[in-house]
Amino acid sequence: MNRSKDLDTIAPDDDVISQSVAKATQEPPLKKKDTKTEIKIEKPSVENLTQKIYHILGHTKSPFSSFLVRPKVLKFTEQDDEEEIFLAARPHFITNISWICLAIIMLFVPLFFKYFSFLDIFPAQYQFTLRLFWYLFTFMYAFENFLSWYFDVFLVTDERVVDIEFNNLLNKHFAEADLSKIQDVSSSVRGVLGTFLNYGNVLIQTASETNQITFENVPNPEKIIKLIEELRDLEKQKGETKND
């Protein structure tokens, strides 16, 4: 015979008993409150993460920038539907300076054609074709180099680290590593320009098939390392909570 129930029915005004019964009946709604608070905690954590990313990386707007934080337009073929790009980095723009200078010099070379006497033996139409060919070749040289830079992209997403590279317009190189499989991240800044403009290589050691991924000549290597470490820790925490 349950005594508390009896007493409650006999003397319902008794404070102690009525409180205990009330507590017993209130237990299930408390659990509901817990789930609500769990959901409430998750939502700000995503916002916190984005704020943290902006805090680490700063904001960049220009699409030609070598350091794009959360680019909205940029996407890649192997990207999952819900995968978000946190950082897209290209080699620092200053690395293009050598081919830009050479292209400018090449652009002015036809102006000196008149000083080459051996070209005088050709009729004007031949000289025009030669100039046209030269300008096209110069354009192609610059365009090819620009494409190699523009499509040489390093991405840090919420799931993995991706390196997409095109060599000589004909070879595509794609390497990726899950954030959870990243073992070690290191960076190296070399040379006068690298030190002044703060760009260098980021080396990522992984436990996946691709042992090593290198981001070459990327701006702010220390920020990239910080971001990767932050995301890796978050991924580990996620994994641990799933296991629990």
Binding site: F64, F151, L169
Partner: protein, 76 residues
């Protein structure tokens, strides 16, 4: 033999060879321009970005100029 080596013959022979060389080069350049178009479009598919359309337009312009180059060399 002596007639063959006259100045006019030598000139026409020299310019003929030059023209042939120009045509070969421009045809090779056209092939290269076609490869560039193919490559730019595959790059654009691989990495989608805001300025991909501009780059594709540039590659087609380059093809147009390379066709113009062939026409110019044939017309020499």
């Amino acid at each position: 033999m002596i007639n063959f080596l006259t100045d006019n013959n030598l000139n026409s022979y020299f310019f003929g060879v030059t023209k042939f060389f120009f045509i070969i080069c421009s045809v090779l350049y056209l092939v290269f321009a076609l490869i560039v178009i193919k490559q730019v479009s595959s790059m654009s598919k691989s990495v989608k970005d805001k300025f991909n359309t501009i780059l594709i337009i540039f590659s087609y312009l380059h093809l147009a100029f390379s066709i113009f180059l062939i026409l110019t060399t044939i017309g020499l």
